[in-house]
Symmetry: C2
């Protein structure tokens, strides 16, 4: 089916990002939020037209971009009003909302659960962007009741946002995201919680490693609370396994248990990290470190200098949090020495011995 | 004191990086490793001269860049040979090696423990670079026995590497790094260990968040095993606290304990993350997302296009692991729209509505 009009229910980061992507493709987008001011804000960003949902303006598809716990009631309300022909959602938990919606008496033939992977630390319509889901996976969880046309509508939505649709059951989805998203969040929170109590001189020694491990713990507690409670079972199981490994390791380190778990855990960690898709590149690369004063404008000057050399840079990485900024330029291995020389000749601080 | 000659014992990543920094400042550097081929490799990189340590060539300072457990014996050996006037080390654990060296009968007046913060995932002399410690903290742990001239020598070493010396006791240091470095590593390992066992379709949903939380778990198990065992007590305590939080959270999610710990943990996580120094910037910034084919050379073309606009870019971020690459350019807020327009006019895919 060709989607023509889409009703977005909930114009936060996710809903507004979907709306912006649909507007880029010329679709009609209706925007609704329990706080009408938020829907107007999204409309002002060009995401569509703020409306009070009703059967008078029936959309082809409604996207319930609300927290997982709010999906069943939102589905019932949209169906009661007749505000959309088919419905999907964007919540990061699937099995419980689907079961609850069925229990509320919703028409499950017209519903297909969806979960676009992606997101940002920031929230709200102002943080939204049309490319948020471009190239990302978008999980669809049809039930045996879901009508083929409803599945097609949800799939068309994912494709219109530039995402890659993936079909699995709600239970499969929930176990997968418990492991790859929700458990990592809580583990990061449990570690960061230790930093909350540490004295200042201790925290002064924390660097990029500590920052990376805990970055996702900065997410909004209210939203994450809702997500975590909606997927409680699979998360609790994974948390207990992680806690069990940590306790065995602590016992080994105290000498009150066998010593093997320490080395074993480190080895399994290396294996597990290697299984995360992406991030790796093929071909031999060299990198050129450059010391840059950590103030606005300096990177622009550096990138200009790189540009003038004509050498192709494939990645630009920062080591933030240092008194002196360090930028690492990744290039083809054969070009590293050349680039280092060119930058030095232009007065940039490039330590010798770049790898 | 002015350092003139430094003996590096252990020419891995850390030792060779220190050596390269010292060579940049024109100091004489002697290189020793239990594997002479590794010392020669470092010498070939321009890090100094490979030697068999002896009293015939007495250095001003020896840097024991060996794993924590190997520091006491290395100190004893260097002092027995008379190969250096003063000694320091670069191990990431301080109290146990200091106590053990004293027990071995080492001359503790001539020793000051040191720990340069920093490092990389890669190891070995080929991964070394002179700027590895530039702008980073370098902890010095003198004991009451340490001679002032020994402390000055260790401080001169840190400064010659461009680092910022910080003085604290060995026990203070060990508790601090247990919390900010060793515990994060094991927590990341415990999470990544779960990924090692997960089915393929589950891991396909893992993204940047999962990658960030577990990145440090990729470190070499042998080295980390040595580090962790040398600082066992403080780490075991922190691991138990993290495991306790995870277990309480799991009980809450199962409904077999009070529910508050879930929200409480998320809130404490946000607070703790905010206490990590660095990473934040002042001033209002805008960002421009650009879709880029994920293949070599494309980023170079984009950076060239940015360069031609004359707009100063302050950060370049990637979202790796997507089928379509997404580059986020950070600029002054007022320039975001202009840059987006300029890039679009040059044919780049810049989604509308950039925030």
């Amino acid at each position: 089916m060709g989607l023509r009009s889409v009703l977005i229910v909930g114009t936060g980061l996710i809903g507004t990002s979907i709306a912006l992507a649909l507007r880029e493709r010329g679709l009609e987008v209706l925007l609704a939020d329990r706080d009408p001011a938020v829907a107007r804000l999204a409309a002002e960003r060009g995401a569509g037209r703020a409306v009070e949902p009703s059967g008078a303006e029936r959309a082809d598809l409604a996207v319930l971009a609300v927290p997982p716990g709010a999906v069943p009631a939102a589905l019932r309300d949209v169906q009661k009003l007749g505000a959309a022909r088919y419905c999907t959602d964007a919540a990061s938990v699937k099995a419980a909302p689907i079961a609850e919606a069925a229990a509320l008496g919703c028409d499950m033939t017209a519903f297909v659960g969806g979960h676009p992977l992606g997101g940002r630390e920031r929230s709200g319509p102002l943080a939204a962007r049309p490319g948020l889901f471009a190239g990302r996976r978008w999980v669809l969880c049809p039930t045996p009741e879901s009508a083929p046309a409803a599945v097609e509508a949800a799939e068309a939505l994912a494709l219109a946002c530039g995402a890659v649709p993936v079909v699995m059951s709600g239970h499969e989805h929930d176990r997968a995201v418990a492991l790859t998203s929700h458990t990592p969040h809580l583990v990061a929170s449990a570690l960061a919680a230790r930093f909350a109590e540490a004295p200042e001189p201790v925290m002064a020694l924390a660097g990029q490693g500590a920052r990376d491990v805990t970055r996702i713990a900065a997410g909004a507690p209210e939203l994450w609370s809702s997500i975590v409670w909606s997927n409680a079972g699979p998360i609790a199981e994974a948390l207990d396994q992680v806690a069990g490994d940590l306790r065995r390791t602590a016992r080994a380190l105290r000498g009150t248990g066998p010593g093997e778990p320490v080395h074993d855990l480190l080895v399994r960690g290396v294996e597990g990290y290697a299984r995360i898709p992406g991030g790796e590149r093929t071909g031999r690369r060299g990198s050129v470190p450059v010391l840059v004063p950590d103030r606005p404008g300096e990177l622009a000057l550096l990138l200009h200098a790189v540009c003038v050399t004509g050498i192709g840079v494939e990645a630009v990485a920062f080591a933030p949090g240092r008194p002196v900024g360090m930028v690492e330029l990744t290039v083809e291995q054969g070009s590293a020495g050349h680039l280092a020389g060119e930058l030095r000749a232009r007065g940039w601080a490039v330590p010798v011995g770049e790898a």
